[in-house]
C-alpha cells in the first residue's frame, strides 16, 4: 500500500511539474510583459525595458524553452519562483495569499462534503418523500447557479438583513475590518467576513456531493449485505450507518478528488466577488498585468493543491475499503 501510494505521489509530482512548465510556456506566448512599460509618459527607452524584462527572466530575445528551463532550474535549486511585476518575490506572495485562500477553501471543502454526505444519505433513506424532493430541487438550483452569482445573491440578502436589523452584522468586503482592537472583536469581525463566502462555497460543494452520495447510497441500500445486517438483528439505523454509509463513502472519495478542482475555481470566483486578497486575485491580476512568473506560480499552486487532494482521496479510499489495505 505504501509503495503504491509513493508511486502515485511521484506520478502526480511529475504531472504537476509538466503542467507548470506548460503553463509557463503558454503564458510566454500569450502574455506580453512589454505591454506594462509601453505607453508610459515619459516613455521608457527600449534598453531599460529590455533590462527590466531580462531581470525578471523574460528577455524576449531568449528562446521560450530556455527561459522556461532557467525559471524551473531556479525553483529546483534555489526555491526561487522569480519576481512578480511589482517586484515582490512570487513565492512570498503565494505564501501570504494562500493563507487567506486556504481559510475559505478548507472550511468550504470540509463542511460542504460533510453536509453533502448527510443530505445525500438522508435523501436516499427517505427517497421520494417531500424532504428528498425539496433537497433535490434545491441542489439542482444551486448547481445551476455559478459560484459568483451565488455570492452576489448572498450579498443582496445580507444587505437586506443588515438593513432590517439596523446594524452591520454580516460584512462582505475584504477578509477583515482594518483598525480593530481586542481579540474578541477581531475574531468576531473575521467570522462576520467569513460567513458569506463560506456559505456560498459550502452550498456549491454540498449540492454536487449530495446528488452523487444519494445515488451511491441508493445502490448500497438495495444490496444484500444491508439485508444480511438487518436479518442478523441490527436495527435499521445502525445497519444504515455502520454498513451502508461506510460502503457508500468509498466511491465518494474518488469523486472528492474530481470535485476539488471545481471548488478551487469556485473559491477563486468568490474571493474576487468578496474582494479578498487571496490567490484568486493574485492569479487574475498577474494575467491582466502580463506577469508570466506570477501566472505560472499560481498555476503551480493550484496543481499542488490538486495533487494533495488526489493523494488524500487515495488515502481515504484505502482507509474505507479494507480490500485495498494490504
Amino acid at each position: 500500500m505504501l509503495a503504491y501510494l509513493v508511486r502515485r505521489i511521484i506520478n502526480y509530482l511529475i504531472l504537476t511539474i509538466i503542467a507548470t512548465l506548460l503553463a509557463y510556456i503558454l503564458a510566454s506566448y500569450t502574455l506580453n510583459p512589454e505591454a506594462r512599460y509601453l505607453g508610459r509618459n515619459p516613455p521608457l527607452n527600449q534598453n531599460s525595458i529590455h533590462n527590466i524584462l531580462a531581470g525578471l527572466g523574460q528577455d524576449p530575445s531568449v528562446p521560450v524553452i530556455q527561459r522556461a528551463l532557467t525559471w524551473f532550474g531556479n525553483i529546483i535549486f534555489h526555491g526561487d519562483f522569480g519576481m512578480m511585476y511589482n517586484n515582490q518575490p512570487v513565492l512570498h506572495s503565494i505564501i501570504v495569499r494562500s493563507g487567506i485562500s486556504l481559510q475559505l477553501l478548507i472550511v468550504g471543502t470540509i463542511l460542504g462534503a460533510f453536509l453533502g454526505v448527510v443530505l445525500g444519505v438522508w435523501g436516499a433513506v427517505r427517497q421520494y418523500r417531500a424532504s428528498d424532493q425539496i433537497v433535490t430541487a434545491l441542489s439542482f438550483l444551486v448547481l445551476a447557479t455559478p459560484a459568483f452569482v451565488l455570492g452576489v445573491l448572498l450579498m443582496i440578502t445580507a444587505t437586506r438583513f443588515n438593513a432590517a436589523v439596523g446594524h452591520q452584522v454580516i460584512s462582505f468586503t475584504g477578509q477583515y475590518t482594518p483598525g480593530l482592537s481586542g481579540t474578541g472583536r477581531i475574531l468576531a469581525d473575521r467570522v462576520s467576513h467569513l460567513v458569506l463566502p463560506s456559505i456560498a462555497l459550502i452550498m456549491t460543494g454540498a449540492a454536487s456531493y449530495s446528488r452523487y452520495q444519494r445515488s451511491v447510497m441508493l445502490d448500497v441500500l438495495a444490496s444484500d449485505f444491508i439485508r444480511t445486517a438487518r436479518s442478523k438483528g441490527r436495527r435499521r439505523g445502525s445497519a444504515m450507518i455502520r454498513h451502508g454509509v461506510r460502503v457508500a463513502l468509498i466511491p465518494m472519495s474518488t469523486f472528492f478528488a474530481y470535485n476539488f478542482g471545481l471548488l478551487v475555481t469556485g473559491s477563486t470566483f468568490l474571493e474576487t466577488v468578496f474582494s479578498w486578497h487571496g490567490m484568486g486575485e493574485l492569479a487574475l491580476t498577474s494575467i491582466t498585468n502580463h506577469d508570466i512568473n506570477g501566472v505560472s506560480g499560481s498555476i503551480c499552486y493550484v496543481a499542488v493543491l490538486i495533487l494533495i487532494a488526489s493523494t488524500l482521496s487515495e488515502v481515504l479510499y484505502a482507509a474505507l475499503d479494507p480490500r485495498v489495505r494490504v
Partner: protein, 309 residues
C-alpha cells in the same frame, strides 16, 4: 460503483433490441426510453423551460421596441416599468433587450461546446480503451495531465488572443478543456466492450479500428454519452459565464449573460433588478437543462433514480 451501473447498461444494450412495454407488447429500446421519458414530469418541465427560452431568445426581439445597444438617456438606472420591462442599466440600456441578446450568445456557446466535449471524450476514450497498450498509456497519461492543469486559468490566458474569433474560439477551448472526466469513463467502458463477442466478431471479420469504434463501441455507450452531452451544456454555459464575468470571455459590444452579470454586479445591492434579471434567466435555463439530463438518466439507465424500486 458508477462503472458497474453502466456495465449493466452495456449488457442491456448489446442484447436483442427488444423489451417488453407495460402493455405486454414488444418495443424497441428507443421506444422504451421514450415511453419512460413521456411519463417523467421532469422531462416535460425541462423541455418546456429550455424550449420556451430558446424561442424567446430568437423571436423575442421581434416583439419588443428596444434594441440591446440603444441607450435611453432619460431613463438611466430605472426600475422595471411598462416602457422598459426589466428596467434599464446604469447607462440606460434596456435590460430586457440585453438579456435576450445575452441569452442567445450563451445558448449558442453552450449548445455547441457541451456536445462537442462529449464527442471528444467518446473518440479519445474509446480509442484508448479499445486499442489498449501504448496508445492507452499515452492517452491516460494525457488525461491525467489535463486534469491537473487548472483549465480556468489557461482559458483566461488564451481568450484575449482570440479577438474577433471569440465565439468559435470559446466553443473550441471550452470543449477542449471539458472532456477529460467523461473520457476516463468512456475508456473504462471501451476496455470491457473490447472483450465482448460482438466486438471480437467484428474484429475477426477484418473491420477496421475506427469502423468498429463508430459502429459498435460508441453506439453501445449512447445513453451515457447523451446524458453527458446534455449536462455538458450546463458546464459549458457556466464556463462561458465565468470567463465573461471576469472580463476574459465575450467582449463588448457583444453581450452574453456573463458580461451582463459583470456589468451589473456593482449595482447589485442598490439596484438589484440589473443583476437579478440576467441571473434568474441563467439559473432557470440551466435548471431546465439539468432536469432534461436527469430525466434522460432515469429513462436510459434502469438502475438509477425513478426507474429503480
Amino acid at each position: 460503483m458508477t462503472t458497474q451501473q453502466v456495465d449493466e447498461l452495456g449488457i442491456d444494450l448489446t442484447g436483442p433490441e427488444q423489451a417488453t412495454t407495460e402493455r405486454g407488447g414488444h418495443a424497441s429500446r428507443g421506444m422504451l426510453v421514450w415511453l419512460r421519458m413521456r411519463k417523467s414530469p421532469r422531462f416535460w418541465i425541462g423541455i418546456g423551460i429550455v424550449g420556451l427560452m430558446a424561442l424567446w431568445a430568437i423571436f423575442g426581439p421581434l416583439f419588443y421596441p428596444w434594441k440591446p445597444n440603444v441607450q435611453d438617456l432619460f431613463n438611466t438606472g430605472s426600475p422595471p416599468s411598462a416602457d422598459h420591462w426589466l428596467g434599464t442599466d446604469a447607462v440606460g440600456n434596456d435590460m430586457y433587450a440585453l438579456v435576450m441578446a445575452g441569452l442567445r450568445t450563451s445558448l449558442i456557446i453552450g449548445l455547441i461546446a457541451g456536445p462537442a466535449a462529449t464527442l471528444i471524450a467518446a473518440i479519445v476514450g474509446s480509442l484508448a480503451g479499445y486499442l489498449g497498450g501504448r496508445v492507452d498509456a499515452v492517452i491516460s497519461w494525457f488525461i491525467n495531465l489535463m486534469l491537473v492543469i487548472p483549465s480556468f486559468f489557461i482559458l483566461i490566458m488564451i481568450t484575449p488572443v482570440l479577438n474577433h474569433l471569440i465565439i468559435p474560439g470559446l466553443i473550441f477551448f471550452i470543449a477542449g478543456f471539458g472532456w477529460m472526466v467523461m473520457g476516463q469513463v468512456v475508456r473504462g467502458q471501451a476496455r470491457s466492450l473490447r472483450q465482448r463477442d460482438f466486438v471480437r466478431a467484428a474484429r475477426y471479420m477484418g473491420i477496421g479500428t475506427f469502423e468498429i469504434i463508430r459502429r459498435h463501441i460508441i453506439p453501445s455507450m449512447a445513453s451515457l454519452l447523451i446524458i453527458d452531452a446534455t449536462l455538458g451544456v450546463v458546464g459549458a454555459v457556466l464556463s462561458e459565464t465565468a470567463l465573461s464575468y471576469f472580463g476574459f470571455g465575450i467582449q463588448p459590444p457583444r453581450t452574453s449573460i456573463g458580461t451582463l452579470l459583470a456589468d451589473n454586479t456593482q449595482a447589485a445591492t442598490t439596484q438589484p433588478w440589473m443583476f437579478l434579471s440576467p441571473a434568474i434567466v441563467l439559473v432557470v435555463l440551466l435548471f431546465g437543462v439539468s432536469l432534461i439530463g436527469e430525466a434522460l438518466r432515469d429513462a436510459l439507465d434502469p438502475t438509477s433514480g425513478a426507474a429503480r424500486d
